[in-house]
Amino acid sequence: MFPSRFRYEAPHSLDEAISMLHDGGDYVKVLAGGQSLVPMMKLRFASPEMLVDINNIPGLAYHRADPDGSLHIGALCRHADLEHSDLLKETQPTMAAAAPLIADPLVRNRGTLVGSVCHADPQGDWASVMMALGASVVAQGPRGRRAIPIAGFVTGPFENVLEPDEIAVEAVVPPAKGARSGGYLKLERRVGDFATVGVAVAVETSGGTVVRAGIALTGVGGSTIGATEAAAALTGKPLTPESIAAAAELAAGAAQPKTDHRGSAEYKRHMVSVFVRRILGATAPGATERAA
């Protein structure tokens, strides 16, 4: 219920933050929203020696579309900013569907998308959304800036490829090649519950053909699962009941769920397939659904 002792710094610039990470010791964590890190520290599942709090660094709270159509989400952009974003509602159906489903309204006031992706919880919703969109994470460190595609960003539960002295400064969703549609469906028994199953689908169509598709799964494996074969089954052709059914089955096959108190592996696989079909079969882009 109370964290172990740690040292704390609150820099006012990225460069300051990076050098603190560099010099801080063996186990230094970045504190942004803290809505995943602080609870872990309170239960003493994580006991970093030092926290570098980036909340006082200006210019990180944005989310904006660049002229080329890419979407940039800054490290301090809160879930609530995304939930209430007209930009997202108009241009990013998958993200707009997921934003209201993250945790609860109070947690959404503090938690950040970038922080959530870095935290790499297998039951994190944003990671699936980013994976379905083919996004990347931009890291900044003493050696400069680099963009890391999301597919290779997470290496295991709560592990990512960032160097100890790198900070993720933004997430970038590439420009669309066609008209965006899709959504995010999450089976949760109540607000704030972890996903029993979550499915992110992002589709871009041009001239009646799907030119890009991404499907990613939450909560049905050791980490976020990119259902690449399922997405491929949609690409290069129109969206039809047949292609949707094929994608749904492939997505279910890509899932690696475990039977536990949230349900049998069989049920979770089945729900993956149901969610893929429902997202793609919905006439309104970005339909949301929650359990119970």
Binding site: S4, T259, D260
Partner: protein, 796 residues
């Protein structure tokens, strides 16, 4: 004849939806909960808990903990044992470990505690304690407990050779066997009522303050029964009872979780005595969920003997209760399985037989808790699930099957098959109101049409009556102490009053409603009556608030003490009006001369006279106390009807409507009664849809924090339609009230479950254990089979 009687509603008497007195401090954030208590020199205590469900303790090394700056004391079982405090008696004639000595017997059991300057330091020190465990095989359900090679969990008890706590039975076996022999149809049902937990938002805690200079021990404590605690502390700690003061300040919800005596309380008291400083212990939510009084976790095997036309001829029930590692239920001592035998009290069942068995397992101790009225939640759930199955087996309409078997209005007093005496009710009328409200005929049509289109709608009915207000001294006691309650009323010379009772509310609004009873009896405006509860130094002895017993028992005592006061006031009035008592009449707030009604005195004038103008020979003052031994239990009744839609593809179900018809007799404060009903319905919804504690095969507790133990939020919780048309006053209660606190939690769950089962008509599914989770519904529909939820939880 003119009347100068006061308007009862205006003065806040019976039936007034008086706004709550308690609210004024809570809405300002000025409540005084146990964790708000700060005493000079106060230290903080944290508990180290066992990570293993069953293990021998080979050694405990606390040396590193002692070295941490700010640590004042580390207590272990060994140290407690030297003071004869490693074990304590429970409220069910068993013993419970305070701090483990030989073994740990459930995951989360208290092993040691640290007292330090600051709770953060105390937690650091707990982490520094090294315990060497030798794991033993864990037992997570009664069947494992009964296995021939099962380890004996309670090997601390000399006479315990197995894991059976008790065997108990009630009813008429021979008569029931005969009834079954004559049955046209026998309907059977087996199910598990899962482990749940009352989980009020506020956890348990205490601030123990032993003053060496005065030898007085004061303990602020989250307790629903401060006087029971005082007696227990006196006997266990061997301190003089009059030197113990238990103060139950504001409590953030009880629901039965705050009745038992927990090791944390005992340790904080001992620590305060040893350190001669106040010691505060506030547990965290994990501690609360994993170790304190859980609820339910009981298995039913039920059978109903039926005549072809639908008449119930007899009922057999067998229950196996999982009690955890210690038998610590707070319940009337004579009844091992609480008031389980209140089942079928509202139905005209001629004969029945119940056998009950209790088992030890490697889990937290408990079973009786959570708005259960001593297991009446289980009794009524089993009853309504069996009734549902029986109607289905007979091919009868659910409502008509219940109606034809109800006890009829003119059949009271009615002896139930298990020996209770019910005295009043209008069961059929409640059913009528409920069916009309839900639009029963229409719904069945809609349901049939929807089914053709592949949509699954369902309707569930549940009824309940419950034995509230335990209880009469002939039959009811806890550890031998009779279950009466009390009220002490002091009317001051200016006509204002202060009332104290032996109850202890935790949100039920006693400060508001008891004053309404005084207003009703004496005509003193409720705003002029201050109500206090919870301090054993000032409150008259009572057995506390749980099992919905306060309105029936303490409320009755409030009425009776008010009548004692009124009787004395009558004499004062006669004296003031210079007539004899026989010539005096009473109307609300005033005594007057029968032959000359314009001549009268107010109750306030009588109060002044009690201090300044007494008749010869009368003791001055206008104060009195009443202790009330209830002649019988009260029997509120309710019908709950729920409609749902089930999504066959996902198993997710949504509540369409929820109708509640509650007949709880006279309602003191309708607003508060409705609040109690809605709270109970929400707990019913929670239990039926998402909320449970289970265990995996290794004995790990699943559901020991709010990430796994799910409580519905405002978003999931349905809206409720409440009906109050049916009022059958209690014939023996001084104001005709029956009590309401738990009714909806008792009767609600079956309504939700029955609705989902009804939606699955045609699949052959007769049971899905609660919580009726989407994956269970999907499994039932897909494989057309019943789904159990009993531990151990299935895991890859």
């Amino acid at each position: 004849m003119t009347t100068q009687a006061l308007d009862e509603i205006k003065i806040g008497g019976l039936g007034a939806s008086r706004k709550r007195v308690e609210d004024d401090r809570f809405i300002r954030g000025k409540g005084n909960y146990t964790d708000d208590v700060v005493l000079p020199g106060m230290l903080h205590m944290e508990i180290l808990r066992s990570p293993l469900p069953h293990a021998r303790i080979k050694s405990i090394d606390a040396s590193k903990a002692w070295e941490i700056p700010g640590v004042h004391l580390v207590l272990t079982g060994e140290m407690m044992a030297t003071r004869n405090l490693a074990w304590m008696p429970t409220l069910s004639y068993d013993t419970q470990a305070v701090l483990a000595t030989d073994k740990v017997r459930f995951q989360g059991q208290e092993v040691a505690c640290v007292i330090a300057d600051d709770p953060y330091i105390a937690k650091d020190a707990c982490e520094a304690i090294e315990v060497d465990y030798e794991p033993l095989p864990p037992i997570v359900n009664p069947w494992q407990a009964l296995a021939s090679d099962a380890p004996v969990i309670r090997d601390d008890k000399v006479s315990q050779a197995d894991n059976v706590v008790y065997n108990w039975e009630v009813g008429d076996k021979a008569g029931t066997d005969r009834a079954f022999a004559q049955a046209d149809v026998i309907s059977k049902l087996e199910l598990h009522y899962p482990r749940s937990h009352p989980s009020p938002i506020e956890c348990c805690g205490s601030v123990a303050d032993f003053n060496r200079a005065t030898s007085k021990l004061t303990v602020y404590m989250t307790t629903q029964a401060p006087h029971i605690i005082r007696a227990a502390v006196a006997m266990v700690a061997e301190l003089p009872e009059q030197m113990i003061r238990i103060i139950s300040p504001d409590i953030g919800g009880g629901f039965g979780n705050k009745v038992p005596i927990y090791p944390g309380y005992v340790c904080s008291i001992l620590a305060s005595i040893l350190l001669e400083r106040p010691v505060k212990w506030i547990e965290d939510k994990t501690g609360n969920l994993i170790s304190t009084g859980f609820a339910r976790d009981i298995y039913l095997k039920g059978e109903m003997a039926l005549r072809r036309d639908g008449k119930i001829l007899g009922v057999r029930m067998h229950t196996d209760a999982d009690h955890g590692a210690f038998f610590s239920d707070a319940q009337p001592s004579k009844f091992k399985i609480g008031l389980m035998h209140s089942a079928f009290a509202a139905y005209d069942v001629p004969v029945a037989h119940l056998t009950a068995r209790g088992l030890y397992t490697n889990k937290a101790p408990g079973g009786v808790a959570y708005r259960c009225s001593f297991r009446v939640t289980e009794a009524m759930f089993f009853q309504e699930r069996m009734v549902q199955a029986a109607a289905d087996d007979l091919g009868m309409d659910q409502a008509e099957f219940r109606r034809m078997n109800f006890v009829k209005d003119d059949d009271f007093p009615h002896r139930t098959p298990f020996g209770f005496l019910t005295d009043s009710g209008q069961y059929a009328k409640c059913l009528d109101v409920g069916l009309a409200a839900i639009g029963y005929e229409n719904f069945r049509k809609e349901q049939a049409e929807a089914r053709e289109r592949g949509r699954l709608l369902g309707l569930g009915i549940s009824t309940m009556t419950e034995p509230l207000g335990a209880g009469n001294s002939r039959e009811y006691d806890i550890l031998g102490i009779k279950m009466f309650d009390s009220a002490d009323l002091k009317v001051h010379m200016t006509g204002k009053a202060i009332l104290r009772t032996g109850a202890r509310g935790q949100g039920q609004g006693h400060e508001t409603t008891w004053a309404q009873i005084v207003a009703h009896e004496l005509g003193i405006p409720a705003d002029d009556v201050t109500v206090e509860e919870g301090d054993t130094d000032t409150a008259p002895f009572g057995m506390g608030t749980y099992a919905s017993r306060s309105t029936p028992v303490a409320g009755a005592a409030v009425a009776m003490v008010s009548r004692k006061i009124r009787a004395k006031a009558r004499k004062l009035a006669a004296h003031l009006l210079e007539v004899s008592e026989e010539d005096i009449e009473w109307e609300l707030g005033r005594f007057y001369v029968r032959s000359s009604p314009g001549r009268g005195v107010t109750i306030q004038e009588c109060a002044m006279a009690a201090y300044s103008n007494m008749p010869d020979g009368m003791e001055p003052g206008l104060e009195n106390t009443a202790y009330y031994d209830p002649p019988n239990l009260t029997w509120p009744f309710a019908v709950y009807i729920v409609t749902v839609e089930v999504d066959p593809e996902t198993g997710v179900w949504d509540v369409l409507r929820m109708v509640a018809v509650d007949d709880c007799g006279v309602r003191i404060n309708p607003m508060i009664v409705e609040g109690q009903i809605m709270g109970g319905l929400t707990e019913a919804y929670a239990m039926s849809s998402m909320q449970f504690i289970t265990f995996d095969a290794d004995g790990n507790c699943v559901g020991s924090n709010y990430m796994d133990y799910l409580l519905p939020s405002a978003w999931e919780t349905p809206g409720y339609e409440l009906h109050s048309e049916v009022v059958t006053p209690c014939p023996h209660h001084p104001i005709g009230a029956k009590g309401i606190g738990e009714c909806a939690a008792v009767g609600g769950p079956a309504a939700f479950v029955n609705a989902v089962i009804d939606a699955l008509t045609g699949t052959g599914v007769r049971n899905i254990d609660m919580p009726v989770l989407p994956d269970r519904v999907w499994e039932a529909i897909t494989y057309r089979r019943d789904v159990s939820g009993a531990p151990p939880v299935r895991q890859d």
